[in-house]
């Protein structure tokens, strides 16, 4: 009896496979992307999402077409989880004309406004007001879209964090503020930046329903997010979700992250979000090794194809650039 009830409540294969595929796709994108960076094919800033995959994965799985997201400087994962075309993402990082922003944006500005992705952002904290603004636009248009801002522990100490969430609150916007608390802003530990490291309390202080979740558990993130999205669509937003997590490496590709204590890093690596999503597929759905490998190979192949596509793509021409100069 008990076992049967448990089975009825168990997450579907479809959901678990989706979570694993997304998390793994981000993992591949970031680890392979770093290799391209090391080869000199990618320049500029590259902030890997390694270790945090569970958050974007769980959050975006609860969203639907017509919704909006705003992202951060560490935005590749959000973009992928949102359903972006890996080809166009890689092309953007390789500054090609086929990239999402035709090579005008790069890693820190990938956006797909047509699909409701307001974009990554080079300014820490900027995604909060922009996301609230999108939620406001949707309220004014009278649709039931939900807007999510992926924010960070670092951004939570910026004034616009309070200003924006407060505006969302007084206007009852369909808005979810996801605070990815990876406990560092570059090398600065969160304990140095705030007295109370439980950032969800910031929402409680201004009357916003707020929760904390293990960000390395994509399924838990998904469930919480699904609930938040339902509430928003019923007009009961905004909602704040703090997702605790930890980076697997330094702040960006060229930061060795020596300041990260080895034991803490090991603790979080044992709770790796990609492994956990994979294990769920094996343990709950019963996928075997071959089936897992088939999924992984398919995703790796997709990335390799994207690299080939991007290498073969051309860059924007100066003549095309001139049209832009005129427009500005």
């Amino acid at each position: 009896m008990a076992a049967q009830a448990q089975k009825a409540n168990a997450p579907s294969r479809e959901l678990l496979e989706k979570l694993f595929r997304t998390a793994y796709k981000i993992r591949v994108f970031e680890s392979e992307g770093i290799k391209l960076y090391r080869q000199g094919l990618i320049r500029g800033y590259f902030h890997p999402y390694l270790g945090q995959e569970g958050i974007a994965t769980g959050v975006c799985a609860a969203l639907q077409e017509g919704d909006f997201i705003a992202s951060t400087h560490r935005g590749h994962g959000h973009c992928i989880a949102w359903g972006a075309d890996v080809k166009r993402m890689v092309a953007e990082l390789l500054q090609k004309e086929t990239g999402y922003c035709r090579g005008y944006g790069g890693s820190m500005h990938i956006a797909d406004i047509r699909a409701g992705n307001l974009g990554a952002n080079g300014i820490v904290g900027a995604g909060t007001p922009l996301g609230v603004g999108a939620a406001l636009a949707n309220q004014i248009k009278g649709n039931d879209a939900v807007t999510v801002t992926f924010s960070t522990d670092g951004a939570s100490n910026n004034g616009t964090f309070l200003e924006s969430l407060n505006l969302a609150a007084i206007w009852n916007l369909s808005y979810v503020l996801v605070v990815e608390n990876n406990q560092y802003a570059v090398s600065t530990r969160i304990e140095e930046s705030t007295r109370d490291v439980d950032l969800y309390k910031r929402g409680l202080a201004i009357g916003v329903e707020s929760h904390q979740v293990d960000g390395n558990d994509s399924l838990a993130v998904y469930h919480l997010m699904q609930d938040a999205v339902e509430k928003c669509r019923r007009g009961e937003g905004p909602i704040l979700i703090e997702a605790k997590t930890y980076r697997h490496m330094g702040h960006h590709v060229n930061d060795p992250g020596k300041y990260m204590p080895a034991d803490t890093l090991a603790y979080y690596k044992e709770r790796d979000p990609v492994d956990r999503a994979r294990n769920a597929l094996v343990e709950i759905v019963g996928l075997d090794q071959a089936e897992i490998e088939a999924i992984e190979n398919e995703i790796k192949q997709e990335f390799e194809d994207a690299v080939e596509f991007s290498k073969a793509s051309r860059e924007i021409t100066l003549a095309e650039f001139n049209e832009f100069v005129e427009a500005y």
Partner: protein
């Protein structure tokens, strides 16, 4: 047909007509809803359009400007009213780093039809943090349109256009102009950006001014007329885009230019206009270009000092006399 109405009423007509026409136009600001705004521009809009599209905000300039930019990116047409241009400084990240750059950063896919209405300038002793003319800050940033209407008709026509185009607009009103009156054409009245207006035709010297320097420059032109000097007064109306053709055409005719700005002299728009004239019309000039501008100083509270800090009618008259008395270059070389 035209009616004589105040600048603030002209602004309200523009907002009202565009809100009527386009349901995605909305306005947020401090005390703009029930109270109708500090300058009475939004009076009556709340009862007509309701609290969804006419909203009061907390005192959170960075947040409200940012939210406006986000709403514009997501396809609405927000007007954010900022009480004083001085307070817009709190939202500079959203204006400079987000709104202005979004179009380029997205490779052209993203547009930001965001309108920030605010007001600047000196006006009766409101002191250093409520009196600035900061158009040069926005003028400097590629991607922003900078609009500075001097008359009710221009205010209406330009604001209507602002709400129909797709780039971020810094719509800079002047606190001294809200109660000034002027003729506004009946019916649809829309003024495209980048088209200056000759406020007074003349043949002896070109005076270029905008915003509240227009009434002052026109007054100077009348004084000069009494001396037999026929000044042409040009109002570019939008600083970005700038109607270079109108300015250069006038200079080609008069061979003399005086630029008048209320903002501080250093790093101002006047300097840039002067550089454009010297670059493109150097051989048509018979005298050095004169710039009449504010002192390089924060605006003092004391009313006499406030007056001394920004151009007055006589400052303009003197500058014009200087350009006219300076000999044509060929003669000077003898």
């Amino acid at each position: 047909m035209a009616r004589e109405i105040m600048y603030r009423d002209a602004l309200r007509e523009a907002i009202d007509e565009e809100m009527e026409r386009d349901s995605t136009v909305f306005i947020i600001g401090e005390g703009i809803a029930e109270r109708g705004g500090s300058y009475k521009v939004t009076e009556g809009l709340l009862s007509k359009y309701g609290p969804k599209r006419v909203r009061d905000t907390p005192i959170a300039e960075a947040g409200m400007i940012g939210v406006g930019v986000g709403a514009a990116i997501a396809g609405a047409r927000p007007i954010v009213e900022i009480l004083y241009i001085d307070f817009a400084m709190l939202g500079m990240d959203m204006i400079v780093n987000q709104a202005a750059k979004f179009r380029l950063m997205t490779g052209g896919d993203g547009r930001v039809p965001f309108v920030m209405r605010t007001q600047g300038g000196t006006g009766g002793g409101v002191a250093a943090q409520h009196s600035q003319s900061l158009e040069a800050l926005f003028y400097h940033i590629p991607g922003l349109k900078v609009v500075m209407p001097s008359t009710p008709a221009d205010a209406k026509g330009l604001l209507k256009y602002a709400l129909r185009q797709s780039d971020p607009v810094m719509f800079l009103e002047h606190k001294h102009l809200y109660m000034t009156k002027g003729l506004v054409p009946d019916g649809e009245h829309v003024i495209e950006f980048g088209k200056g207006d000759i406020k007074r035709p003349g043949k002896d010297v070109t005076l270029i001014a905008w915003s509240n320097m227009i009434p002052r420059t026109l007054e100077a032109a009348e004084k000069l007329a009494a001396e037999g000097i026929d000044a042409e007064v040009i109002d570019p109306r939008t600083l970005v885009p700038l109607d270079k053709d109108m300015i250069l055409g006038s200079v080609a005719k008069t061979n003399r230019a005086v630029i008048v700005q209320e903002a501080v002299r250093r790093g101002g728009v006047a300097s840039d206009i002067a550089s454009i004239i010297q670059e493109e019309a150097f051989y048509q000039l018979d005298a050095p270009i004169e710039i009449v501008a504010g002192l390089n100083i924060p605006i003092p509270f004391n009313l006499e000092l406030e007056k001394a800090s920004v151009p007055q009618v006589d400052d303009i008259v003197l500058a014009v006399r200087r350009t006219l008395h300076s000999k044509p270059l060929a003669q000077a070389a003898e």
